[in-house]
């Protein structure tokens, strides 16, 4: 540890570096647009708000994913939980659309949680199976085509309308963020989550019902994915096949770039927030540069490796 990082705790350093990297992305993007178009759209509040609005969907997914990663598990069922919630919400319609969509997510989370916590199946494989089942159910439900049903007005209002120039989706993201922060910092459940992530056996011996907490975490993650699905369906006015596929890996990447340990037990929500903003801005700068998909993938991978090399390195094995 050098003196510069002494004043920072181990959890704060990644957040600071990721925040600095966001500035680098913004600066590089602005230099590019200025040189090429003579304008700086990246710095205009309208453009940034629009990007954040798109980022809100990823942000909500990442919030749920972070909870699950904190207990040392992972949820690979997010893509089709998200899509299933969106499809069921649009096909039910009416005032029940949003509650039904969210209920789907909570239910999937409950199944995941029971499988992981009580059957002790590794979450990697159980949630993978649940994802396949949800995909199967939705393919059977929709016949494999894009559903013809449309999002309800309330869903559209929540996702795309603005109040005082600020998109409603951002309010939803902010509300989810506040809930998660309060839960992690101010409740016993939050403490349990970190304890389980560090050593489940120790948490159990300390009297925590670790299996129940695990189930709750998966339920939260499923609920978050469903909320993102409902919002996304509102934003694009309909649900479609594979709408969640683009959210799984970026959500994991955002959580990890934000300094959360992939093995659990360590990480702050602020980091996840910054990780999401970083990924969203990186994507938008790359699309301004008209980077082909190939280049995006390469840069995407290199950025993750670079960020982790800077601050995400594990301990050396010593015993």
């Amino acid at each position: 540890m050098n003196s510069a990082s002494l004043s920072l705790s181990r959890d704060d350093r990644p957040i600071l570096i990721a925040a600095l990297f966001i500035l680098v992305i913004l600066a590089a993007g602005t230099v590019y647009t200025f040189a090429r178009f003579g304008s700086a759209p990246l710095l205009s509040p309208t453009y940034l708000l629009q990007q954040l609005q798109i980022g809100a969907f990823l942000g909500v997914v990442a919030a749920g994913m972070m909870i699950v990663i904190l207990i040392g598990q992972i949820d690979l069922s997010v893509p089709w939980t998200l899509a299933a919630a969106a499809m069921m919400a649009t096909s039910i319609g009416g005032p029940l659309a949003i509650p039904v969509g969210l209920a789907i997510g909570l239910l999937v989370g409950l199944v995941n949680g029971i499988g992981v916590a009580y059957l002790r199946v590794p979450s990697m494989i159980f949630t993978l199976g649940v994802n396949a089942v949800m995909r199967g159910l939705m393919v059977a439900h929709t016949g494999g085509y894009a559903p013809q049903t449309a999002a309800t007005d309330l869903m559209r209002t929540l996702a795309s309308d603005r109040t005082l120039g600020i998109p409603h989706a951002l309010f939803v993201w902010a509300a989810v963020s506040v809930l998660v922060v309060v839960m992690l910092q101010r409740t016993a459940l939050g403490r349990y989550i970190y304890a389980i992530g560090n050593k489940e056996a120790a948490a159990y011996l300390a009297g925590v019902d670790t299996r129940r907490v695990t189930v709750i975490c998966f339920v939260i993650c499923g609920g978050a994915a469903a909320l993102a699905g409902v919002l996304l369906a509102g934003y694009s006015t309909k649900a479609y096949q594979g709408m969640g596929d683009a959210y799984l890996l970026p959500a994991i990447a955002a959580v990890v770039i934000g300094g959360t340990n992939i093995l659990g037990g360590r990480g702050r929500y602020l980091g996840t927030l910054i990780g999401v903003v970083l990924i969203v801005l990186l994507n938008s700068v790359l699309s301004i540069m008209e980077m082909p998909e190939a280049g995006r993938q390469v840069i995407y991978g290199l950025v993750i490796i670079f960020m982790l090399l800077v601050y995400g390195r594990g301990e050396r094995v010593v015993s």
Partner: protein, 370 residues
């Protein structure tokens, strides 16, 4: 003697279950198939199984070292895209060029004929191995968790594949395609050995599909020696207790790098075959993802613990075959294609849940939290 067998069976209960499950399913499949137990059906199945079996073997090695390689599908795809440039079967002296961003990069000329094909195959496998080696170095020297490190390198490899083949295309030498995706008899006839496959002694084995022979050869010539080497044992040791392995003086860094490198090699074999079989290179991101996920499922069905330390790549081959045979059944029994994903998911869930029922017998709850 019987006790020994019983112990062996108990130690390998995962792989034994996978083999039994596969045998039962496959016999049932052939009984139900109108042309069951014929070489044609076997050849078709072998071609469908090969790539997944290779990717499953690839996934096994890092899993044994309690890592996870999320880039196996990406490496497979990337090697396939390279193969569609390197194995076109162009005549000697034909310029080898890569198309990137509309640029023609001339990379010298290519020797034609058998030499060219063999050189191309070696190059493709070397590319896969190198990709695995890079994974290993990022994990060991970068000290980044394997799951997230390979997630990132996988994105890079897919990016390279997309650079090579923004749209599906390319070409594979037709003789190579024919020789490797049919029965041994066709192979012999194509490469003109054993009197073009008409030799008397050759007839009884001429029906065996080449892909199955290749799987057995790769397992026997690559996996078995590796498992018996010091590095192979070190991989198992790292997976069951890394600290203990380190204190025992085992080369844990080299073991991990070897595990990922071998994974790259196996994934390269899968990609090479997939390109040869489809006669094209295709940077298909959803397909790469599906192969990665199915490789994890195959590993688990094949009796390897995701926690590391126990299991074997042979089991994963059977795991992959079980997964594939299940999808063969959909063709036979005319199940609506729309229901297939649902059944595949349910069967996977059922398999892992039944395997997990042992937790109900655990008396000391503390033992659950390993």
């Amino acid at each position: 003697m019987l006790d020994d067998v019983a112990i062996k069976v108990r130690q390998n209960v995962g792989i034994v279950t996978a083999v039994l499950l596969f045998s039962i399913l496959y016999v049932l499949y052939n009984l139900a198939h109108p042309r069951g137990f014929s070489s044609a059906v076997l050849v078709q199945n072998g071609n469908e199984i090969f790539a997944l079996a290779m990717v499953a073997m690839a996934q096994t090695v890092p899993v044994l070292a309690s890592g996870l390689d999320l880039s196996v599908g990406a490496v497979m795809t990337m090697v396939g895209c390279f193969a569609s440039y390197l194995l076109t079967g162009a005549a000697a002296g034909a310029p080898l060029h890569l198309d990137i961003f509309g640029l023609h990069l001339a990379l010298g000329t290519f020797p034609g004929g058998i030499t060219g094909i063999l050189l191309g195959i070696v190059l493709c496998l070397a590319i896969g191995t190198a990709a695995g080696f890079i994974n290993g170095c990022v994990v060991v020297y970068g000290r980044i968790q394997p799951i997230i490190a390979t997630l990132a390198t996988g994105a890079v490899y897919i990016g390279i594949a997309l650079f090579l083949r923004p749209t599906p295309g390319g070409k594979i030498d037709e003789d190579l395609n024919w020789a490797l995706t049919n029965s041994l008899g066709d192979f012999a006839a194509t490469v003109h050995i054993f009197d073009d496959g008409a030799a008397g002694w050759f007839a009884p084995i001429a029906w065996i599909p080449v892909p199955f022979v290749l799987i057995v050869l790769i397992a026997l010539l690559v996996w078995v020696p590796f498992r018996r080497s010091v590095l192979g044992r070190a991989v198992y040791a790292v997976g069951s207790a890394e600290g203990a392995a380190y204190m025992s003086g085992l080369p844990i860094d080299r073991a991990k790098i070897a595990a990922f490198t071998l994974a790259g090699f196996f994934a390269g074999c899968g990609g090479l075959f997939l390109a040869i079989q489809t006669s094209s290179g295709n940077a298909d991101i959803p397909q790469a993802g599906a192969y990665t996920l199915n490789s994890i499922a195959s590993v688990v069905i094949g009796g390897t613990s995701l926690l590391g330390g126990t299991g074997s790549a042979i089991g994963s081959i059977f795991g992959a075959m079980v997964l594939r045979v299940i999808s063969f059944f959909f063709r036979i029994f005319d199940i609506a294609p729309l229901l297939q994903p649902l059944f595949e998911g349910l069967i996977l869930l059922a398999a892992v849940s039944i395997g997990a029922l042992g937790v109900l017998r655990v008396k000391n709850t503390l033992e659950l939290f390993r």
